[in-house]
């Protein structure tokens, strides 16, 4: 939000109580279940969470890119003050590519394998900006230069399979940036890449965001990736945002026991080897039959009976940007009480649990 | 069709008579293509080497002329020939050709050409089988001059002119015959003297002939004739009815009613020709025993057969002749439909415990082992098989079925490798013309006497019939022959085959066919018609 334009009064994106359900043979999958947040222009938001927590569905739901069959989508999505909910696909098309665009996880599958790179970049340029072929080609070449692809002119005539993974991801970024969108979604943009390449891609995305004063929603399961690249982080669990805070705040003073467990279960380079990792027992909730109360309660070491029956709402901390959904957050008296109990018990069971 | 009447005396000159008008009168106009649906495709069109079935005759009638022709009164009259005269002993016949006739390829029709045809047929491996038994090995045909030749016969035969109105009487260009020997594919492209010239042929689809502008017999009206094989009789009928064919022939009884009912169709229907019958091979056990032959005869469901396959159109046959024929003997009835009697005969036979030639028992469990051969795959063949199987099995026979391709079927019949088979034959308008199927001399390695049944006394009758000076005498001999055939139990007569030749109303003049002398000719013989007088409006 440091980069946000002070003159903007309304946020670029305002999502409130967004629900996205899928009707399936098993029942209704509540993939996104009441998510609200807002994003200023130029700001970057990181969304983290375990696999299946609804990150991808959330970002696609906001963009309106989900298929129409068996979908239930409710709530409100305001983009630049305009309500997107209820817009027809036709109306959305003018927003896609121009106003919002997206980078996908797997660069191998996200480019059309049988179409030349040049055409794939030129397509939105010709469609939205009304460029003719040669203009689009020139622009495409410039875009490739922007994403630091060597020999851009030659690349335009190549097919995706002739490029390496990192290159392809750069092409994707070039396509996403082509029409100068104001909001960029990046869904796990580096998961399929090697670490050495990942670093550069992240750098590139951030650099372009700053240059173009775009907002960014960066979706990932790797907390490390969001730590250095976003202004605000939202933690998702079971289709809900369970905690949201400015990056630094989140790392220094998380409130959700889930956030804590997540942080502590990740091996860190700075820790000595053989440092025992904290674990979260069990597995993420079934989104068809989510638990009654707090989604995390069945796995939460600090859960109390109340958590199992009542769903916690979002609580705002002293920092208005920092919200969480927990009855007994980290630092609360009940939290400390239970923590003490647990440490005593683990002394007794020092032979070591299996988890 | 007309009743065949015996010829009273040898014809030397063509008689003149008026032809009955059977169709709507009108002045013939030139033009038009006659599309003629036939029941099957034919293998080859060379009269000296290909075995001609009905479809081949239909095509042959367009492209060839025969030396004699069947007059409307049932006699054989000169056609390509100008005259045909016997010697005193009726063994040598002198034939004089009409002058100035040319084949389609420009070759002259002369006695050498006729002799070439005869010699080719005589030498032909298969066609010759039916020729050789009646002619000397040397000099059967002798050339007298350019237009005159003499046929030398082994037996006296007053009915010889009838022999020259069939395949043997069709005269093909000797040039073409010679060429066809070199390149047998030419057998598909016949060259004759006929009213139409061969134009093109696509097997299984259409064979096309076009008008011979220089036909010796006068003006030909039709521009062209297309002969189209349509195997399914119902489809053939359908095509005739909706105008995709102009003419067709059929023996299928189901089509007959529809043909009769259709006002717009002109039909020539008669059942004087062939008979369908079962044939029993008397050369091998168990059917060398007359008891077994009689048993299978009695076991045969003739009435049911006629109900299912006659459809009320075909008449039951008792002998080679229909009741209208002068040769018909009302005392002779085909036995059948008596399973009990059959069982008794079988029991008697099986009690003897005889063995077949290869040493296996003729009976198993008191039932006679036999094989039934039929042509397949075919729906009708299977239906007939089902019907006979059921009745024979109930009357003491162990039947094995052997379905054979058409060619195999004929081969096995010719070689005598069968017990019982179904057949269609005996269509000749002059009964003596059928002698070839009955004489002892046609029993052999390959037998035209299919049942391989030789009876000297019958041979005597057969030869006597062909020299009978009066029709009364001939009739009485033929009745004795019929009795003899009945008593031998080698044929089980089932039905008189009904042939229909049908034309749409656009086709005229089919029955106006005449010789140059103006003798009216029979217009439909066993499913074939002439095309010389046909015109289309």
């Amino acid at each position: 939000m440091n980069d946000s334009d002070p003159r903007t009064t309304t946020p670029l994106l305002e999502v409130s109580d967004l629900k996205t359900y899928f009707r399936t043979e098993r029942g209704t999958v509540k993939a996104v279940d009441g998510v609200s947040f807002s994003l200023q222009r130029g700001q970057s938001l990181g969304i983290v969470g375990e696999s299946g927590s609804g990150k991808t569905v959330l970002s696609r739901s906001i963009m309106g890119l989900l298929g129409r069959t068996n979908l239930i989508r409710e709530g409100s999505i305001k983009f630049n003050g305009q309500e997107l909910m209820g817009l027809s696909v036709k109306e959305m098309r003018s927003i896609w590519g121009q106003e919002m665009s997206m980078i996908f996880q797997d660069p191998m599958t996200s480019l059309n394998p049988v179409m030349k790179i040049g055409r794939q970049i030129a397509e939105p340029l010709m469609l939205h900006l009304g460029m003719n072929k040669s203009e689009a080609r020139l622009t495409a070449e410039k875009l490739l230069t922007d994403v630091r692809i060597p020999e851009p002119q030659r690349r335009l005539n190549q097919y995706p399979h002739e490029l390496s993974g990192g290159m392809r991801q750069r092409v994707m970024i070039a396509i996403a940036l082509a029409c100068g969108p104001t909001l960029l979604f990046a869904d796990e943009p580096t998961t399929a890449l090697d670490v050495t390449v990942q670093a550069e891609i992240l750098h590139l995305i951030n650099e372009q965001r700053v240059d173009r004063n775009m907002s960014l929603i960066l979706v990932t399961h790797n907390i490390g990736v969001v730590a250095g690249n976003t202004d605000v982080i939202a933690v998702m669990y079971g289709g809900k945002i369970v905690e949201k805070a400015p990056t630094k705040t989140l790392f220094s003073s998380y409130k959700m026991p889930y956030t804590e467990a997540l942080m502590r279960s990740i091996p860190k380079l700075r820790q000595a080897s053989h440092t025992r990792l904290a674990t979260i027992p069990g597995r993420p909730p079934d989104m068809v039959n989510p638990p009654l109360g707090c989604n995390f309660a069945p796995r939460c070491a600090y859960a109390r009976p109340k958590c199992l029956v009542e769903e916690p709402g979002l609580t705002v901390t002293e920092n208005p940007e920092h919200v969480y959904a927990c009855f007994y957050p980290v630092g609360s008296p009940e939290y400390h009480e239970r923590k003490l109990e647990l440490s005593q018990r683990s002394d007794l069971l020092s032979t070591g649990g299996q988890n | 069709g007309s009743d065949s009447e015996g010829t009273e005396a040898p014809t030397t000159e063509a008689p003149t008579s008026e032809a009955p008008t059977t169709e709507a009168p009108g002045t013939p106009v030139a033009g038009g293509t006659l599309r003629y649906g036939v029941e099957a495709e034919t293998d080859g069109l060379n009269p000296t080497s290909s075995a001609f079935a009905v479809s081949a005759y239909v095509m042959g009638n367009a492209v060839f002329d025969t030396l004699t022709a069947l007059a409307a009164d049932g006699s054989a009259v000169p056609n390509l020939a100008a005259s045909l005269t016997p010697s005193e002993d009726l063994k040598d016949w002198t034939l004089v050709l009409r002058p100035g006739i040319k084949f389609h390829d420009g070759t002259d029709l002369n006695s050498a050409a006729v002799k070439a045809n005869f010699d080719a047929a005589y030498a032909a491996p298969l066609v010759g089988l039916a020729v050789r038994p009646f002619y000397p090995t040397e000099n059967a045909v002798e050339i007298v001059d350019d237009l005159t030749l003499i046929y030398h016969l082994l037996d006296a035969n007053l009915q010889f002119p009838h022999a020259l109105r069939s395949q043997l009487g069709m005269v093909a260009s000797p040039t073409w015959l010679a060429a066809a020997l070199e390149d047998p594919t030419l057998n598909q492209a016949p060259v004759g003297t006929g009213p139409f010239k061969y134009e093109s042929r696509t097997q299984d689809s259409v064979t096309r002939f076009v008008r011979n502008e220089d036909w010796w017999g006068g003006e030909v009206w039709l521009d062209a004739i297309e002969i189209i094989p349509v195997v399914d009789p119902a489809t053939r009928l359908e095509l005739l009815q909706n105008g995709e064919l102009d003419a067709m022939h059929t023996t299928e009884t189901e089509s007959l009613a529809a043909l009769r009912a259709d006002e717009s169709i002109f039909n020539i229907i008669d059942d004087n020709g062939e008979e369908s019958f079962l044939m029993i091979n008397s050369a091998n056990a168990p059917f060398d025993d007359i008891r077994v032959r009689k048993a299978i005869t009695l076991a045969t469901p003739r009435l049911e057969y006629n109900t299912l396959f006659g459809n009320g159109e075909a008449r039951l046959a008792d002998q080679r002749f229909t009741p209208e024929s002068p040769y018909y003997d009302e005392t002779i009835k085909q036995e059948a439909d008596d399973p009990e009697a059959a069982l008794a005969l079988v029991a008697e036979y099986c009690a003897d415990g005889l063995l077949t030639a290869d040493g296996s028992p003729t009976c198993t469990d008191g039932k006679v082992n036999m094989e039934w051969q039929y042509t397949g795959p075919s729906v009708v063949g299977q239906r007939i098989t089902d019907l006979f199987n059921a009745s024979w099995a109930a009357a003491g026979f162990n039947v094995t079925n052997d379905e054979l391709a058409q060619d195999d079927h004929i081969q096995q019949a010719a070689l005598g490798q069968y017990n019982v088979i179904g057949w269609r034959q005996f269509g000749a308008y002059q009964p003596s013309n059928d002698n070839v199927w009955l004489l002892c001399r046609t029993v052999g390695g390959i037998s035209l006497n299919w049942p391989r049944y030789c009876d000297e006394s019958r041979d005597t009758l057969l030869l006597a019939a062909q020299v009978a000076p009066t029709i009364e005498e001939e009739v009485s001999i033929q009745k004795q022959i019929s009795q003899n055939l009945h008593d031998a139990y080698t044929y089980i007569f089932l039905q008189h085959t009904v042939w229909a030749n049908s034309f749409t109303s656009a086709v005229n003049g089919t029955c106006d066919v005449k010789t140059p002398e103006g003798v009216a000719l029979a217009c439909a013989i066993n499913g074939t018609t002439a095309f010389t007088s046909t015109w289309m409006s």
Binding site: G224, L262, P267, L269, R270, L277 | -
Partner: protein, 331 residues
């Protein structure tokens, strides 16, 4: 860097596994070319030790692990396990030897037969080797299933797809344990798992290692994970070795430019750590046609002429810290 050599091999009686000059090549279908998946690496593992192997995708980690099991047999090189040379064993001898080394694979789902009950999968090795009576087998299997945290009751009636990824990985571990192996090769056992579950499996492996006295080879591309579990870490690049050191040492003082980049590139989950990875040129080249000299030379920031022609050998740059580089970072 990224080179060969054996300076780092120890000459201790406790060495359980010793790999020498391991080379694995695969023919490329239809072309006659070959993939140089592993091109001469050597290492040893002492009893009770955990050796970590890291490297980017395609550098030959899995191939190395499988070559030890002779699945498939390496193109050349020797593999000495407990004094037994594995590469020259007959088929039957190898079958026998395999029971002492077991392997766990990356994909927890694909490593379990979807059509067999979980308990049968774990029991299978005992049946193959006809070990013990049925009762003994039942007891052993139940115990091991409980050790890995799977309810034996449920295992007896369920199929793999009825378990989560983490549970499947534990079932794989259980299967590898029943034959009482001396060594387990773990090929990216946690890469397919969620962070929360990943920790469960890592902890489980640590526990079991202590309980069963196992020696581990732990392969992963995630340095933090490898570091967390290993005693020593081998860094590979394009089928060659780069660096081998004790895990803490390696991260504290990476000497190979590649190791350094790798360590640098990892985004730490800590906003305080300024994330400024060393720029690295391009991406790993194809193992079909690897560069001459040091295989890392085209991407190396410190490249010298020598690196392009001469292949570096492993040398000890500090006690128990080996590196294959002509121009290592100052220690």
């Amino acid at each position: 860097m990224a080179g060969t050599g054996k300076a780092h091999l120890r000459n201790s009686p406790d060495v359980l596994l010793s790999v020498n000059d391991l080379v694995v090549e695969f023919p490329v279908a239809r072309t006659g070319l070959k993939v140089n998946a592993v091109s001469g690496i050597s290492f040893d593992v002492i009893k009770g030790e955990t050796l970590g192997i890291v490297g980017e995708s395609g550098c030959g980690k899995s191939t190395t692990g499988r070559a030890i099991m002779q699945l498939p047999a390496p193109t050349s090189g020797s593999i000495d396990f407990n004094g037994q040379e594995l590469t020259t064993l007959s088929k039957d001898e190898m079958r026998d030897a395999r029971t002492k080394i077991q392997m766990i694979f990356q994909d927890p789902i694909s490593s379990l037969n979807p059509r067999r009950k979980v308990r049968d999968i774990v029991l299978e090795p005992l049946l193959v080797w006809k070990r013990g009576t049925q009762e003994e087998r039942d007891i052993l299997v139940n115990r091991i299933l409980e050790d890995v945290g799977i309810d034996p009751q449920r295992a007896a009636e369920s199929y793999p797809h009825q378990f989560s990824g983490g549970q499947c990985q534990r079932i794989s571990i259980a299967r590898s344990l029943v034959l009482d192996p001396q060594m387990i090769i773990c090929d990216e056992p946690v890469s397919a798992l969620d962070v929360s579950v990943q920790a469960q499996v890592i902890n489980l492996l640590e526990n079991l290692k202590a309980k069963y006295g196992l020696t581990l080879i732990f392969i992963a591309h995630d340095l933090a994970v490898v570091k967390s579990i290993s005693d020593r870490v081998l860094v590979m690049y394009l089928g060659k070795m780069c660096e081998l050191a004790s895990s803490d040492d390696l991260y504290a003082r990476p000497s190979h430019p590649y190791t350094n980049i790798l360590v640098d590139s990892i985004p730490e989950p800590d906003p305080e750590v300024i994330y400024a990875p060393t720029a690295v040129m391009g991406e790993p080249p194809s193992p079909i046609n690897p560069p001459a000299g040091c295989r890392f030379n085209p991407r190396c920031p410190n490249v010298q002429d020598r690196c392009r022609v001469e292949e570096p050998e492993m040398r000890e740059i500090a006690p128990a810290h080996f590196v294959a580089c002509h121009n290592p970072l100052t220690y």
